[in-house]
Amino acid sequence: MTNKSASCRSGLCRALYRPAGLLFSVLLSLSSAAGEAALIKQLSDGSAEERDAARHKLLVSATPASIPALAAQLAGPATFDNACFLLEALGHPDADAALAAAIVQADDRCQAGLLNALKRRNSPVAITMAHGLCASGRAMAKAAAWDYLAAVADPADLADGTACAAMPGSALLTLAERLAETDVKVARAKYAEAMGERFPEHVQLAAFCGLLGLSQSDMDKLVADGLSRDSAVWRGATARFAANLPEKSLRRIGVKFMRSLPAAGRVTLIEAFIAAGNRNGAPFLRESLKNREDTPALIAAVGGLGDLGDASDADTLIELLGHHNEALADAARMSLIKLRDADTDARIVRALSKRGGGPEAHVRLLGVAAFRKPHKAAPAALQYLDSVEPAVRTAALTLLTEIADEKQLTETFSAACKAEDPHEQRAAEKALAVLARKYPEAATVAVRPLLAAAATEGRRALLTALGIAGRPDGLALVIETLGDADSEVADAALRVLAAWKDIAAAPALLRQAEAHRSNSLRIVALRGALRLIAQEPGLDARAEMCRKAAGLVQRDEERYLLIEAWASVPTPEAVAALKPYLDNPVFKNDALKALRIIASTIIVDVPDAAPGTLISPVAFKAHRISDYRSEACAVADFNGDGKPDIIAGPFLYLAPDWKPVKIREIDNKVTEDGKGYADDFCNLVLDVNRDGRPDMVAAGWFDKTSAWYENPGGGKGDWKRHVIDPLGNHETGTLEDIDGDGKAEEFLPQTHVTVWYERSGNSDGQATFVRHDVCNQTRPFGAGVGDINGDGRQDIIRPDAWFEAPEDIRKGAWRAHPIALGAPAGGADHTSNIIVHDVNADGLNDIITSVAHKHGIWWYEQCRDGEGKVGWRQHLIDDTWSQPHYLAFADITGDGRKEIIVGKRFMAHNGGDPDAFGKKCVFFYRFTPSAAPVFTKHIVSYDEGFAAGLNIVPVDIDGDGDIDLVTTGKWGGPVLFENLKQ
């Protein structure tokens, strides 16, 4: 039992399991006679609970030694049930004797119980008493006595009629079932008796089925009898028996009785053949077809041929398609659809060619063919196209839609463009559309001669087919038709042209947009052209078309399309054309969207809402998840449902509805105006114990300790805390790739000293961290990782020194080199995290960082002097706002280059930092690595109540393929900035 408890992870299931463990472990250890006697005593004297436990234990462990004590308990009304059950389970002759002996004194209910127990034990010790009870007036005991005798007594003693004249039906059936194994003759007699009038019908039926099972030469007669009954229950049971007979026997029965059975019985018999599922039953079904007068049986047989028949039945079924009884004709149709034999198709094709029967038959036959799609039927199908009946022509068109190939196109199209009645027209349109899509070339060829000859309605349909085919020849034909004398046709051609799928139509459309006689069709043409412009491969040609269209646009409806078209032209001209629309509230959103698209290719020099910002290639929508004032957050699929969840401070917010679950306590003293701190300075995702569930690493300033919290999985709360290290004040910390394995799994805290941690296991196999000391000198906060000197190893950078990674990063010494980051004019100060990236594309890694509490974001260009010694040149990115405490670095525009995402750490020093009460903001800076990189500044969120805190997580949280942002701060978060790019 202990091994089970130990290996059970969940506290809940452990709690659930315990009762059973207790119960059965006690029972297994019980062996002494004294223990058994004590249990027997409990069985009579204990509380309900003790009695129950004693019964459980004794059930699997009682020995024959307990029989006398249990026998005594049979006499007590309160102890009877348990004693009776335990004696039954004991399996010893003395137990049987004890049960039998108790019958004499027992009351009605207990007598029944005793007899039932003896019956289940198959013990004949109480036969005489049972005979006596059968004649008694005790209801329960009497019924149990009959059951007992039927199951246990020597059948010979019960065989004579007088002994059991009053036997209840169920007992009689039990007796017959027993006899069936020893004496079939007597068993049959007993079944026959149970079919007697004195028994209810369902007992008679059970007896009848028993008799069927034992039937000999009388089997056929019995089956016929069963099938002749009025009761569907009775017939169904007979059919079930018949369906299991050898095919020969079933067929014999069919031949003998088919004609004489009542209608319902004939149908049931046919059902039996079908249920037997034996294709050899088909001849019998065919035989039933001969009697054309017997409609119900005929329908059943015809319906069955679909399952059991073969191609040889196809002709008969085809003939029935024209039958005046619709149900019959329909059954034939369904069977023809189902017939598996391949030769069926050939017969259907032959029948189609012969064109026998009336229009109803034709419609059904064509319908069957449309279902089976025999390709050889196409030539035969063509001849139905000239039928005088619209329904036949419609069915033929439907069939040809499925099976026609290039050879039948001309004739099919020719018929289609003559369609008259509405059903037929619908079928014709479908045929034209499907076949034009399937055979675009041939369809275009087929249309040409017809277009000249057909009537107006037909020509319209043909033009639509040309549009669907979408071939250059077709386009020429459509353009030619624009000048047709029939103005309805010419207009239809213009509409087809306006819906044309490729750019080839655009020049013609622009011409029509300029010159067409009808104003409304000029608009149709212009809309068609505008829709296509983005498809034009040449940038200049696109610009030219936009210019031309711009001259033709009259209404706002087309201006929207024009704005969309300009979006496909990434040039200053397009920006200039779009700019005026920004001032018009009607177009502002569309113009902004177009400018964003252009901004993803070129710099769009149009200012955005915040000072120094330009229109962003991507827009973000803020979703407030909560309003809790703490400063660190983390994102991962913590509950294993495939969707990323958010942790911020003490809460886990579960996607997709962000329901908060409390996972831990933190010391939070933040006031409503953002003063004070939550002692929670980083939240980092790492599977510390490698159980496949992401855990969380956190660290505190005030408690001077880092710790990890074990994820119990399933979105559950109360995560267990494990201390990592009481190292000192933690400003914050990051996960970095220090061992160069490509995974950022090493913990780099921002503390006064310089250390890093990696995951490990202790001697008990439990997860823990190992600390590696780099330098114990006190420094400003701020840290980062990257290869500065190009030796392929990951160096560690602090604001006033960078540490060159030794060959053995765990045992070797890290050599310090001077550097100064985080203050204007080459000074050092507390920085944000430090990013290492080749900003100017010269092959040497540069540094991007910011001052944590004041004004300034910089990049530092790495220079080498003549001896190869590393030096740094500082370049300002932005110093117009303060407290940029964390830099995220990710490709949020989707252009393959990373952007710097950074926001204000609100109230970082409780209002003591410069510009502490400036507008709340999150920005991103975009640049292309090059010799003189230009940084453009864009808004993620500005002056709408959201800023940042100690980190910003870039992650595709909604799974739409672009990077969203999650952050929180003392303004009350977390917030999700949804990237609206995709």
Binding site: M1, K4, S7, R9, S10, C13, L16, Y17, P19, A20, G21, F24, S47, A48, E49, D52, L59, V60, D81, N82, C84, F85, D108, R109, C110, A112, G113, N116, R120, M140, A144, E177, H202, L205, A232, V233, G236, A237, A239, R240, N244, A264, V267, T268, E271, A275, A276, G277, P296, I299, A300, G303, G306, D330, A331, M334, S335, I337, K338, F371
Partner: protein, 413 residues
């Protein structure tokens, strides 16, 4: 029994439309469209979910309700009367009076588990067709008796394992049986709870209510007698005497595993407890059945694994597969377990046509054999060998005493 089943499980999909129309046709031609008259036994929460489903299926008429609890009984009568627009629905405290009525064709049994087998047997012995909620039995002996009664009296029996006909489960089974997963080697049956009712828990006795108010003796039925306490009535699921432990979910999930292997007349032969939340069983050819509480998205999860892929589904209605191509050309439809319609409708169709339902007694008996054998091994916490032919454990007389349960007189199997 080779008569074909209604329902389209495992039939080729190609002719579905044709088959539907064909059956409609046959039904018209064969069955006199007589109304199926119904009685409802048990009127608790599950019953009130399904009663409207049954009554809404065309050709059904509800005549009577039965419950030992007067309040529930009257509530059920109200539901039926409101539906029928009259006040004719009869109410019974003692089901035997209802069974004696010749005008009732079929019964829906939705009592507590302790009554399922006993009621189904009594009903079939009285010539009624039965739709009985799962589990069909509390012991291997009970299941056997249900199977024998259905066979002897030729009654239509449908077990309430509606997931056998719910779209996403059918799709998963069809994929597994199509051969596209290769040879199946491991089947997972989701359990949610295991060991929930491994023992009895007792409450202090309370005054027994009046017979007509609440018939406590009849509520207990074949289960061992104990003094009345109202907490048992809502909390019977956690009592060994009233509940079959692993049958709670196994009657659905183990059942689907048996079905997917086409093993409807046998059961696993080796049962191995692993830990409190995991249990393994093995068929004689080595195919493994994993019962587990954890790692599934939703309730009633099953997962079928073969050499070349896997498929998994659950009550969310989603079907997950090892390769997206397995789901090509398959439209997955689901149906809530709260209001299954296909399964009850199939039962009523079969009552008329006398064809075999998709969850008949014999097939269910064997999947319950697997559930009961697993429960016994789980409770004894030791591996057991089992012989599905003789329905007995090998060389373990203690385990064999648990194959049966107490059956308080006068109730008998």
């Amino acid at each position: 029994m080779s008569i074909r089943r209604r329902g389209f499980i495992f039939k080729a999909a190609g002719f579905a439309a044709a088959a539907v129309a064909g059956q409609r046709l046959r039904a018209q031609a064969v069955a006199p469209s007589n109304t199926v008259t119904m009685g409802f036994i048990g009127a608790g929460s599950r019953a009130t979910q399904l009663m409207p489903v049954f009554m809404n299926i065309a050709g059904t008429r509800a005549l009577a309700v039965c419950d030992v609890n007067r309040e529930r009984r009257q509530n059920a009568k109200k539901i039926v009367d409101e539906f029928n627009g009259n006040s004719d629905c009869s109410e019974y405290r003692d089901f035997r009076e209802m069974l004696a009525r010749p005008d009732i064709d079929a019964l829906y049994i939705a009592t507590g588990d302790r009554w399922h087998a006993q009621l189904a047997i009594q009903a079939m012995r009285a010539g009624k067709d039965v739709y009985c909620e799962k589990p069909i039995s509390l012991s291997i002996r009970e299941g056997e008796a249900v199977m024998n009664a259905a066979k002897r009296y030729q009654r239509i029996y449908q077990g309430g394992v509606q997931r056998r006909t719910v779209g996403n489960f059918v799709t998963a089974m069809n994929i597994a049986r199509s051969g596209r997963l290769g040879r199946l080697h491991t089947l997972h049956a989701g359990m949610i709870v295991m060991g929930f009712s491994s023992a009895n828990k007792f409450f202090d006795s309370e005054p027994t209510p009046a017979h007509d108010e609440f018939d406590w003796d009849m509520w207990l039925g074949p289960a061992p007698w104990r003094p009345y306490n109202s907490q048992y009535i809502k909390g019977w699921h956690s009592q060994y005497d009233f509940h079959g432990d692993l049958t709670e979910w196994g009657s659905h999930t183990i059942d689907l595993c048996q079905l997917v292997l086409k093993r409807e007349q046998t059961a696993p032969t080796r049962y191995v407890p692993v830990d409190a939340g995991t249990f393994h069983a093995f068929y004689d050819d080595g195919i493994k059945l994993v019962l587990r509480q954890h790692g599934f998205k939703n309730s009633c999860a099953v997962r079928f694994e073969g050499d070349e892929g896997w498929v998994e589904t659950d009550d969310s209605g989603d079907v997950q597969v090892s390769s997206p191509s397995l789901l090509e050309n398959r439209a997955v439809r689901s149906e809530s377990w709260m209001r299954p319609v296909a399964h009850p409708k199939e039962f009523l169709d079969c009552v008329r046509s006398r064809q075999l339902t998709s969850a008949p007694a014999e097939s269910l008996h064997f999947s319950h054999v697997a559930c009961h054998a697993a429960t016994i091994a789980y409770h004894l916490n030791r591996p057991l060998e089992f012989d599905p032919r003789s329905l007995a454990f090998k060389n373990d007389s203690e385990a064999n005493r648990l194959i049966n349960r107490t059956c308080r007189a006068p109730w008998a199997l």
